[in-house]
């Protein structure tokens, strides 16, 4: 099968981990460091956590003879990004009690808490557990949180599609009980009793992501996933899904073998049973053929390109025992969230709140976190997250809408959502500094300021109402999917970004590198020129990304 002569170090760690247990318990007991052993750092990801340290504080703490300020980030498993109001209340308090207090909505519809110190992990997980929440397999070499089109108004079959997210997540969950033993004090059953036919003891060669889209909105950026499912709906009835494989964005500066790739649609299948079977076997093929020696080249996209999409489809079909049908036609015409109030086919109401970079917190001018708590405490709204890092107050009965509106209004959240510029509402940044160990430059801490400086330039050119998708990441891993943006900023060093142009508006064409390592004045200078040309040279209605391609800027 795959050529794996020199297995990467992580492979060894997984195999001897005794079902992802490793020495995590010992690491937790170590009283003199806030960190856990290196091997355990790899394993704890499978339990939904990353060890990090506050990079802003490294030098100062070293001078104080203090170890790095280690803490853990925890990411919840929320297939499709849904919480009941009770769960939001629990999340609110857990964030306040154990983490930095900021609730971070991610680009894959879930939430992260940062800054948990080692001794707070267990209480946090236990509190989540009491709220029927867990963080299993949200990180690590397994299937991650399943993303799904977020807004129920998108289609009467939304709920039906949405249910797939949960089913797939359950189907692909690792079987080990380690999570329950380590964090929830469940008594240990024999290790051998946990046969895991899917993951075995090797798990996958690398992370694996699944996204589901409901055309015409591609808010879940379905083609950037290892495995994308595109719902095919005819006459208001769900027919099945087109299947796309081999999406993935991460690259490494200076490593020519790495590249971003959008998924390739390989066919269509209809029933739930068949869909789940297909999904499952795509994972087993990747498990058996993925590269296990170089983690930079181990995502599904490289396996697909190495063996070819046709071979891959055939191999999957062999394993499922049935063939895929030809893909069905679909069209995407949007990727933006539906900000503000919307009603679905059942007469339920939805308010999409703009949450800049997904950071829910209280500031002096915007008590967002408090208002959301107040809303959750009414019990009248569910919480949904979007892949654009926003939040939808959901499934609100008509009679309760006024109450929710009032709370939002009082906190200034309606104004906040309505008055934010179009460019800002279509922008995303990743976490980056100060917690992301891989960050080379700022992300979410900087983009809001940069946008404030881009706004007047757009205004100058009369482009303020233009929908342009802008995304920034602190490194080339692509967590805010900048390769699938019309304007992509990818950090190269502190204060410097590569500028990417030419992605389309709907996430069906990647952008390309335009200029390297620009600082802020250079970025603003470039954009001023580009916007000027765009204003005067565009065809009517032509999106900025398409114009960039037509002009051969890249």
């Amino acid at each position: 099968m795959s050529d794996n002569k020199n297995l990467s170090a992580v492979e060894g760690i997984k195999q001897k981990s005794k079902g992802l247990r490793g020495t995590i318990q010992e690491s937790l007991r170590n009283e003199i460091t806030g960190s856990i052993s290196e091997d355990d750092q790899s394993l704890i990801k499978f339990h939904g956590m990353y060890q990090q340290d506050d990079r802003d504080r490294r030098d100062e703490r070293a001078a104080k003879k203090l170890d790095r300020l280690y803490s853990f980030m925890i990411r919840l498993r929320l297939p499709g990004g849904f919480l009941t109001p009770e769960q939001w209340v629990a999340l609110h308090h857990i964030a306040g009690d154990y983490s930095t207090g900021v609730i971070k909505i991610t680009t894959r519809q879930t939430v992260q808490l940062h800054g948990l110190i080692k001794s707070k992990i267990k209480p946090t997980i236990q509190a989540f557990n009491s709220a029927q929440l867990d963080s299993i397999a949200t990180c690590g070499d397994v299937n991650r949180n399943v993303a799904c089109a977020s807004h129920p108004k998108q289609s009467p079959v939304h709920e039906q599609v949405f249910a797939y997210a949960d089913k797939i997540s359950t189907l692909l969950k690792p079987k080990t009980r380690a999570y329950y033993e380590i964090w929830l004090d469940e008594e240990k059953i024999s290790e051998r009793s946990e046969e895991d036919p899917l993951y075995q003891d090797r798990y996958l060669p690398r992370k694996f992501k699944i996204g589901i889209a409901i055309p015409p909105n591609n808010d879940s950026d379905v083609f950037t996933n290892d495995l994308g499912l595109i719902a095919i709906i005819e006459d208001g009835v769900l027919q099945g899904f087109n299947i796309a494989i081999g999406g993935g964005l991460g690259t490494t500066h200076g490593n020519q073998d790495t590249y971003p790739r959008l998924g390739t649609v390989i066919g269509f299948t209809d029933t739930e049973e068949k869909v789940l079977k297909m999904v499952y076997e795509v994972l087993t093929v990747q498990r058996d053929y993925g590269n296990r020696s170089d983690r930079k080249l181990s995502r599904l996209k490289y396996t697909v390109d190495k063996y070819g999409a046709d071979w891959f489809r055939a191999e999957v079909e062999k394993r499922t025992g049935f063939k895929l049908e030809a893909p069905k036609p679909y069209t995407f015409t949007q990727r933006e969230d539906y900000y503000g109030w919307e009603e679905n086919h059942e007469g339920l109401w939805y308010y999409t709140l703009f949450v800049e970079n997904g950071r829910v917190l209280d500031t002096d001018d915007l008590p967002m976190k408090q208002a959301l708590l107040d809303i959750a405490q009414t019990g009248k709204a569910n919480f949904r997250f979007t892949s654009n890092q926003n939040l939808i107050l959901s499934d609100i009965k008509k009679k309760d809408k006024k109450k929710i509106q009032e709370i939002l209004d009082r906190a200034g959240l309606i104004r906040h959502t309505e008055t934010a510029s179009r460019i800002r509402k279509n922008a995303m940044a990743c976490v980056a500094l100060n917690t992301c160990p891989l960050a080379l430059a700022e992300g979410q801490r900087y983009l809001p300021d940069l946008i404030s400086r881009i706004e007047p330039i757009l205004e100058k050119h009369g482009l303020s109402d233009e929908q342009i998708i802008t995304r920034m990441t602190g490194c080339p891993n692509g967590c805010a999917r900048p390769y699938a943006a019309e304007i992509g900023f990818i950090g190269t060093a502190y204060g410097r970004y590569n500028l990417y142009l030419g992605g389309d508006r709907y996430g069906e064409r990647l952008n390309k590198l335009y200029k390297e390592s620009l600082d802020e004045p250079a970025i603003l200078g470039e954009l001023d020129t580009l916007f000027g040309e765009f204003k005067h040279g565009r065809h009517a209605g032509e999106p900025f990304g398409d114009f960039a391609v037509r002009k051969n800027w890249i």
Partner: protein, 571 residues
Amino acid sequence: MLATVKQNAFQELVSGASHEELVWMNGFLAGVLSVGGSLQSAAGSVALATDPAPVKLTIVYGTETGNAKGLATRLAAVAKQQGVRVKLAGLDQYRTADLVKESYFVVVVSTQGDGDLPVTAVKFYEYLKQQQPGFSHLQFAVLALGDSSYPLFCKAGEDIDSLLEEKGARRFFRIQKCDTDYENDATTWFREALSSLTQTSDRAALVASSPAQTVVQKTGRKIYQGTVLSSVNLNDQGSAKETYHIEISAEGVVYEPGDALGVVPENPQHLVLEVLSLSGADPEKRISYKGAESTLLHLLKTKLNLVYLPERVVRKYAEVVQQDIPETRIGLVDLLKIYPVKDAAQFERIVEILEPVAPRLYSISSALSANEDEVHITVAKDRFEVNGETGYGLCSGFLSSLSESSAFSFYIHPNRQFRLPAPEQDVIMIGPGTGIAPFRSFLAERDAQMASGRNWLFFGDQHFVTDFLYQTELQNWFETGVLTRINTAFSRDQEEKVYVQHKMLAQAAELYSWLETGAYLYVCGAKEPMSIDVENTLLRIVSEQGGKTEDQAAEYIEWLKQSSRYLKDVY
């Protein structure tokens, strides 16, 4: 009539003598005259007449940092050489029931705190206080160790001296108060005291020559000029504490792990200026204080304690200004504001009653074997609230404000009671908070010695993230095996408070097995409540692990203390 030398000696003899002694001298001289012979024979005969048997002498000591003990031991050797039968005991070990059997009794005792007895002497003192007078058989002499930079110089010695007298015991020799350079004064005094007992030496001659007091120069203690190499607050943002690690360079500085650094803090400039302006006195006026002359400005800045005056000083202040002042601790500035002095002259009288600034000690946290010509200290900035305002400790405030390359004077206060054992012995160190300081020194020393004995540290503070003093250094020592075990207790990281003693208890079996195999146990840090809780926990561990009754456990601990295997440096 007498030659000056003789007259001086005679006067000293008389003035330093108690009533009984005068009576005795009177009789003695009468005896000399009556036989018409020489002093020599008279002395012999008198001594023979009163005490024909060889002199039996008991020397007891009360010590905190080992000076009194070391001295008492040397004195005992001197006495032995002279054929005196000597018994030597620490006051904490001394069987008070034996007091009735003693004849000659020498107490060597230091003063601690603010004129307090050393902890080891408290039990003895309290016992004696309870007794009825009736110790007339007991002949005593007190050798008091102290430090004249403290306001109550040798107060503990004085207290024991007068208590013995109060209980009817007879002072066979005057009290000697010794400053930090006590060696000469003490041995001279002792030889004199001895000769007052023994038949062999010529007491009068000895007394007459009494060279030590006039000839021997006061050496004082060695004052070093330190330069701050670096100073860093070890606590991170968000901590309730500020603990400064200060590295000081001082050429030729000599100390051992376990010693402390002493500083006499200066008063802040603004305080001095405020006092001066309230007093109306001339800062340049030369004033004599305790036998030395300097300008008023200099006195106020460097010598006198102006803050938080003790009640006894407030009382004296009230007498000078002739006003009714409640006897509570208060600063001089407030006194001057509320109860002003009449004029500059009256202020000079206030100066006379002010006390010197007491030195402050800081356990040394470095070892010369690792850092030659350097001394490191670990200073907790003392913070307190007065009338809703935040105040800072005089010395810790001063030290923590020192920036790189600033200079200040210090001395070394040796602590001979707090020493590392031989390299092959195991060591258990319990040092929460700034109690970690001497153990950083210990570990550096054991590291440099490549000591084969094991080292186990218990550390504690409020929060793991912000208050883990010397975390990375301890991690390194753990990784390189210098630290065999380390346990930490962070009291405020969880609902219930967790302290070092809880961690000791959690390791009870292992801890007891270390003790059983000869480990030395050290405790440093807060006297209360830490060192008391730790001791109670030790008792519990010894009793539970060793299957001992409470009494047996207490004996075990006592035995550890006696074998110098349980040592405390608490404050």
